[in-house]
Symmetry: C2
Subunit: 273 residues, 2 copies
């Protein structure tokens, strides 16, 4: 009898050269590339399941995936072993055994995506696939105000592409943090990028990109803060702003609130009276 183990991977990738996370016919995907590496390593043809199906050009720092394996390779050895098989634009930075019922997508309770914007006249070439350059006047204060209108539990249909009428479009946006982060490859030491970090219990298709596209149009004066509230209430995609391009987007982390822990930890037990 063979024992199946559930292994969780934490994955970073530059999405530039992939058609996205998800396996697609005759195209290179992050998922397919990792599945190929697992097959070369273990001989098993398996499917891995990711927490977020990032689009072509979207990056990840902390994507999470899981897969069931019969392999006797110690779970924590998968990361270094797979890294030897993977191209340089994908890195597994952690691998560990997780409970059998753990699912990278369905067990997630929170995720954070970050979008990077450069308002400089030109973006340094080294950052060209990592940030969205936005031209012209840009009112960051209004953008930050508009962001607060989206925090909370709402029907985000107005910020969803290809919505299916059957599915629930309610999500809870826990936080939207707008900040300036230094660019390691800026024109000068003080060159900063605008980072919009959105934390939610889940995201609809293209939700971050349509929120960011709309917020940028607010910053450019096309919409007011009240327009954002009106868009949200309309539940109509055609009422909201445009969709920001994929390459500024990065999946930062996924939180499982302990569901990815193999053993109950002392710390977790403390919060149960």
């Amino acid at each position: 009898m063979t024992t199946l183990r559930n292994v969780r991977l934490t994955i970073a990738y530059e999405g530039t050269n992939y058609a996205g996370w998800q396996v697609q016919p005759e195209q290179s995907s992050v998922q397919g590339t990792i599945e190929g590496a697992i097959e070369r390593l273990t001989g098993e043809t398996i499917r891995i399941h990711g927490a977020g199906r990032t689009d072509a050009g979207v990056h990840a720092i902390g994507q999470v995936a899981h897969f069931h394996t019969e392999s006797t390779i110690p779970p924590e050895r998968f990361a270094p072993a797979l890294n030897r098989e993977l191209p340089k634009d994908i890195i597994i930075h952690d691998s560990r055994e997780v409970p059998d019922e753990f699912h990278a997508r369905y067990s997630a309770v929170r995720k954070q995506y970050r979008y990077l914007i450069d308002t400089a006249e030109l973006t340094p070439p080294a950052m060209r696939d990592l940030v969205w350059r936005v031209h012209g006047a840009f009112d960051e204060v209004t953008l930050t105000e508009a962001a607060t209108r989206l925090i909370g539990r709402h029907d985000f249909s107005a910020f969803e592409s290809k919505s299916s009428p059957d599915e629930d479009s309610c999500r809870t946006v826990q936080d939207i943090v707008v900040s300036r982060v230094p660019s390691a490859f800026g024109w000068h030491e003080n060159h900063e990028l605008l980072a919009i970090a959105i934390t939610a219990d889940g995201f609809l298709y293209n939700m971050v990109r349509s929120i960011v596209g709309t917020m940028v149009e607010v910053a450019q004066g096309r919409w007011t803060t009240d327009d954002v509230t009106r868009m949200l209430k309309s539940r109509d995609r055609s009422q909201a702003g445009s969709t920001a391009p994929p390459h500024g987007l990065c999946l930062m982390w996924v939180d499982y609130a302990g569901a990815d822990q193999l053993h109950c930890e002392a710390e977790s037990q403390e919060i149960v009276p």
Copy 2:
């Protein structure tokens, strides 16, 4: 009669996909790529002269080049016009007319190169061509101490590759600043890179990379601070440490102390009594 104008370009590039700055037979170079763009724009087959001949894989934020042209295109229009002709990994971020005798290389009085090091276990894929990942224990304090031994006017033969005995190997290193810079693509918000910025009146071939390679070996405990002084005095390349790889290196800026100004400016005149 045609008038020749001397035009100065300020150039940023990601060096990953080039055989270096300098034109080489049957290889793609930054210089050759820009010369091709100028030819398509003006019809002129001209040579441009760069301030620093960066190697394959080395990047630039503020490389400077000049060329003489008969074109009637206003000098400041070269930057946007060339950017339309250039691939995305090269950007001209400034173009202006300079005095006829200005030479990007020979008129330079100071340059700064910066080297980025990542001491994390793994480097995020988005930064893989931009930083050098260094493994294991790393004593940053000793590295900073060792750096001070190289400041000043010295014969840097011990830190020069392919030295030619006829040439003067004395250079003045004005400053070596070791600092932590935030990585826009780190594993977490506080992920920082180690930056070594070296400012000098000129650099020998591979000087920054052999200084950085040696300093990293000091940080790893292979050499002491006194060894660095001994290496410098030896004027012998075989006495110093190894050469750091090219991809962590970036040419930051070139200073001409006003020699690139077409007109004497009020500010410059003030310092002459």
